[in-house]
């Protein structure tokens, strides 16, 4: 029998670690158990070929809340986020659309493709920023239960209404539209050039099992825009040393405050006695006791695998089964012996240091989604491709590079059958061929390559169906609906058992907000001082 802890956190993903850090700092004795022999979940840097670090799951950073970085002193523990400059969409006609961090350069490039789109970009940027400003304070708060009359829920409801009430009538009407539109329809109201729409639609689909023409995807865009790097709202960057740098800094902060991490420790069951959790039992039979258990695993894995079904209300189990986790993406990670060339780009263009894409129309994206609906990967997939080693020299030896390709769409099953290795290889080839079409000699530069389909994501990281957000970001699964109406405040039907992963509000991305918000609820229940968790800061 091991000595009891106050809290056991299941899973050392970024949300589990954020949660553990806050709880440990409130004076609780916290144990983190992780099934893999490394920590980080989907925010990792792994040396899969000698000398080259792979951000082999999540690959860019923007959403991670700066409040959390400050609260947990992550800079002191080695975390550094570097904003990247530029990006490009390669067109089939040989031209390209560049993107730049500099607003004016960006606007000029839009105007090059369609004179009026330069001006439209000003309107677009203003409107989207207003939506970000509206939603950002909601990220760092627990969603109220609209069916509850408890003072706290009423208070939070009032906060939401107050926030909404700060808008003008016109802004209210626009906000409702924005939250429910498809990104394609939304962009049609601003822009003319197809390639510009295709570029801006990207944020509306990444990680989602919807096409750019599906209503609700404008909100998904917001989910990708509401982050910031160094105070630049909407900016994206690389974590120096790969995405694992984030979880490494978190674990260092956690250990420094006295926490304990156990790796290679797969939890087989959460122990429950008389409707209360008493701890966890590992695959190897070890029991660890605690009156509070926090699961960083997704809601399906937590309640359908880690908890015995009779311990839960039948209706709750049904709702968990109905929670939508639809894997829609894959990942191809490549080590290169030299920097690839893209003849479409001018010599010395900064675009190669940012995000690159080959999908130049919204229609091509949507057709990719149709393939997914039919149960196969996209024949002409959408790629979010980057080479972080162009900015971060710590990830590969000089001259060599790590390239990350996020690929959509990629289904959790192939026409209702499990993925085979042959399927996976064919999927990888589809991706490589697309890149090689725009980069002569690309295939000869490859030293090593890792192809990850939803099957691999589920097996290794534990994401059900390989859904990177631990659940779709559709309205029926947002705010007070996430993950289950009535259980959207990080608690579960079992006393002492909490969830803190991306399945909870405000959802996926390497954001940390679910872990932090869950910690605040737990500290409230355990009557701990939570003053070390700062509230959300305002966007000006």
């Amino acid at each position: 029998m091991n000595k009891p802890y106050d809290v056991i956190v299941v899973g050392a993903g970024h949300n589990g670690l954020v949660n553990a850090c806050y709880l440990q700092r409130s004076g609780l004795n916290v144990l983190v158990v992780e099934k893999n022999d490394w920590i980080g979940g989907a925010a990792v840097s792994r040396e899969l070929t000698p000398g080259i670090l792979y951000s082999n799951c999540s690959y860019v950073c923007s959403l991670f809340r700066p409040e959390i970085m400050r609260d947990l002193e992550l800079a002191k523990h080695g975390l550094q986020i570097i904003a990247y400059e530029g990006g490009a969409v390669f067109k089939q006609d040989g031209d390209f659309l560049a993107s730049y961090r500099n607003h004016h350069a960006h606007r000029r490039e839009f105007a090059r493709h369609a004179p009026r789109d330069g001006e439209a970009y000003e309107r677009y940027a203003r409107d989207v920023t207003r939506q970000c400003r509206f939603i950002q304070p909601l990220l760092m708060r627990t969603a109220p239960d609209p069916a509850s009359l408890k003072p706290r829920d009423l208070g939070e409801m009032l906060f939401l209404l107050k926030k909404f009430n700060e808008l003008t009538a016109r802004e209210m009407a626009d906000t409702i539209r924005f939250w429910t539109m498809s990104i394609s329809d939304f962009l049609d109201e601003y822009f003319e050039a197809e390639v510009i729409k295709a570029y801006l639609a990207i944020s509306g689909i990444i990680g989602t099992a919807l096409g750019p023409m599906s209503p609700g995807t404008a909100y998904v865009l917001l989910h990708h825009y509401m982050g910031e790097v160094d105070g630049n709202v909407g900016a994206w960057g690389y974590a120096r040393g790969g995405m694992g740098a984030i979880t490494r800094a978190l674990s260092s902060s956690f250990l420094a405050s006295g926490g304990t991490i156990l790796t290679d420790a797969q939890v087989s069951k959460v122990l429950v006695r008389n409707g209360r959790t008493t701890g966890v039992v590992l695959e190897n039979g070890d029991e660890h006791l605690a009156t509070t258990v926090v699961s960083n695993a997704d809601v399906k894995r937590t309640f359908l695998k880690l908890v015995e079904e009779p311990e839960l209300p039948g209706d709750f189990v049904r709702q968990v089964r109905n929670f939508k986790m639809r894997g829609s993406s894959g990942k191809v990670n490549i080590a290169l012996d030299s920097l690839p060339e893209f003849p479409a780009l001018p010599k010395g263009s900064p675009c190669i240091r940012g995000d690159m894409h080959f999908t130049d129309t919204v229609e091509r994206m949507e057709r990719g989604y149709d393939d997914w609906k039919a149960g196969t990967w996209s024949a002409d997939p959408f790629l979010d491709m980057m080479i972080p080693t162009t900015i971060d020299p710590t990830m590969a030896p000089p001259g060599q590079h790590f390239m990350s390709c996020f690929v959509q769409y990629c289904p959790p099953k192939i026409r209702n059958a499990d993925w085979t290795d042959a399927d996976r290889d064919a999927f990888g080839q589809t991706v490589i061929n697309q890149i090689a079409d725009y980069s002569p000699g690309f295939k000869d530069r490859i030293i090593h390559m890792e192809v990850r389909t939803p099957r691999e994501l589920e097996a290794e990281v534990g994401l059900t169906e390989g859904n990177i957000f631990q659940g779709e970001l559709t309205f029926d699964q947002l705010l007070f609906n996430r993950p289950i109406p009535g259980y959207a405040q990080y608690r579960s039907p079992i006393a002492g058992l909490y969830i803190c992963g991306s399945s909870t509000h405000p959802g996926g991305g390497v954001m940390g907000a679910p872990g932090r918000n869950a910690a605040i609820e737990i500290m409230r229940d355990l009557k701990r001082n939570a003053s070390h968790a700062s509230p959300a800061h305002e966007i000006l």
């Binding site: 016109r170 009407a173 626009d174 409702i176 539209r177 924005f178 599906s214 209503p215 109406p485």
Partner: protein, 513 residues
């Protein structure tokens, strides 16, 4: 110059509804209609000698008894067939599934478990639709508005939910914007019914059953449906004549064959209209019951409106995606499952079939296997010769911008639907006496509706309530003094229910008072 209190542009059923109500309240009302007959898209026309076939709309499901009484339609001759309209779901290589009376009754021959799942789902959908129903029979609440009526409606809706309990409220807030496909999958209803609901949820709207928010189409159907589905005696033309006669009886003046060229605006105020013939007619109030895009774009013109509203109107998605196929048949075809009464046939065998038919329409292509609903006339229907029949078919997912062009498209679509019908009623092709294909561009031309959209503009969440047709004109008032709008393009949307006409008339009476 002649002068009226209110000029109504367009004698569609909403225009006639408003005119009727205004005349009853003592207003001098003139209705100007471009065509020679009343009814707009909801009438019938003669396709072949002796065949009067519903041109576009073919049922009157949404017209409720309160409206019928308020307009005096029964006195003007509106009658309904006594028998309910059954729905027959056509299934490839299987017997059809028959719903004797819309969604209402138990389904014959269905197993207990499936029956229960179906009733449970209908129960929760009807409850949720009833909440939304609080808001459709009146002017939509506007953001930041604090009127007494809004509070009353909000309170009623809140009380309804409160009474139903926490879990119902939570379920409503979760389901309200879901994809129809997810709703039917969660409810584990029979696959054939799932296909039918997917079709009914998406007909006339550019979404597939797997698109988020597609459940709303079903709510709207349930919220505007009046008990049993109804067929007017004498067809749609008879129903529209009743609207016309009731309007005349109420004191409204109708002029047919009189298209309006423009609405006259002077110093920010409406002063009347000018007809295509050049005649100027004065009125302090003009109610345009035609498409909002046509009203603002052609009749008013962008010169007298703010840039903001001009841009908003341009962003209304007006491209229709339903094609109407009208078939005059020499003899009444037999369909397994259909009796002698008027029958609704639906081809939408499964959710996947409906979704697959939707996919190509996104890219301006026709579906390989289109889904459709068709009304088969009753045996003995007076609107066709003795022994004959008509089939009025609405084909979903037929985009306005057909890339290969509608010239070829009309032929291809007719062929693919006829091939399908032939599967279920062999020999039907030979019985065709006359046929017409009204693709969205044809509807645009014939009914002067830009885009040829049933609803005058997409009926999706971002264009509902205070955003329908656009923010700033959603309370039936255009941003020009004295100009009002109603019709399918305004709240609550399409369907032959007269609601927007009623709501707009009330706004006009309120403004005048």
């Amino acid at each position: 110059m002649k002068s009226f209190d209110t000029i109504v542009i367009g004698a569609g059923h909403n225009g006639m509804t408003a005119a009727n109500l205004l005349a009853r309240r003592g207003q001098k009302v003139l209705v100007l209609e471009a065509s020679q007959v009343p009814g707009g898209m909801a009438t019938s026309s003669e396709l072949a000698p002796g065949y009067s076939i519903p041109s576009i709309a073919h049922s009157l499901n949404g017209l409720d008894d309160k409206t019928i009484a308020a307009l005096g339609l029964a006195g003007a001759g509106l009658r309904f067939e006594p028998d309910p309209l059954p729905t027959v779901c056509l299934l490839p290589a299987a017997d059809p599934l028959v719903l004797p009376n819309g969604y209402a009754a138990p389904i014959p021959g269905m197993a207990g478990g499936d029956q229960k799942n179906w009733q449970d789902l209908l129960g929760s959908l009807s409850f949720q639709a009833a909440i939304l129903k609080q808001f459709i029979a009146s002017t939509p609440p506007q953001p930041r508005e604090r009127s007494f009526q809004l509070k009353a409606e909000g309170l009623k809706a809140a009380l309804k939910m409160k009474r139903a309990g926490k879990s119902e409220l939570r379920e409503f807030l979760r389901m309200v914007l879901m994809p129809a496909a997810d709703v039917v999958q969660e409810a584990e209803i029979d696959r054939r019914l799932a296909g039918l609901l997917s079709f009914d949820a998406t007909l006339g709207i550019a979404v597939g059953p797997r698109s988020p928010t597609s459940i709303l189409g079903l709510y709207y159907r349930l919220a505007t449906q009046t008990g049993q589905p109804r067929v007017p005696v004498g067809g749609m033309a008879a129903a529209m004549n009743a609207f016309h006669q009731a309007g005349v009886a109420a004191g409204a003046v109708f002029r047919f064959g009189t298209p309006v060229r423009r609405i006259v605006v002077d110093g920010g105020k409406v002063t009347g209209v000018v007809t295509e013939g050049g005649e100027e007619i004065g009125a302090a109030t003009v109610l345009s019951a035609i498409s909002p895009v046509a009203t603002f774009g052609s009749l008013v013109g962008s010169r007298v409106m703010d840039t903001g509203i001009v841009r908003d109107v341009r962003s209304i998605r007006t491209k229709g995606n339903v094609t109407k196929l009208n078939l005059a048949l020499g003899l009444r075809p037999t369909f397994k499952g259909a009796g002698n009464g008027a029958t609704r046939l639906v081809f939408a065998p499964s959710v996947d079939d409906v979704e697959r038919a939707f996919n190509p329409s996104k890219y301006g292509e026709l579906p390989e296997a289109p889904c459709f609903e068709a009304i088969l006339s009753a045996a003995g229907d007076q609107s066709v010769p003795a022994g004959a029949a008509y089939l009025s078919v609405s084909v979903q997912n037929t985009p306005y911008d057909l890339r290969s062009g509608w010239k070829k498209g009309r032929v291809a679509l007719m062929k693919s639907v006829m091939t399908r019908l032939e599967q279920f009623s062999p020999g039907i092709a030979k019985a065709v006496v006359a046929a017409e294909t009204l693709a969205p561009p044809d509807i645009e031309e014939r009914y002067h509706v830009p885009g040829g959209h049933w609803h005058h503009g997409e009926w999706q969440v971002d264009r509902l309530f205070f955003n329908r047709p656009v923010f700033g004109a959603a309370n039936y008032r255009a941003p020009i003094e004295g100009l009002f709008i109603c019709g399918a393009g305004t709240h609550p949307g399409g369907g032959v229910n007269g609601l927007s006409g009623l709501n707009a008339a009330r706004e006009i009476l309120g403004a005048v008072r």
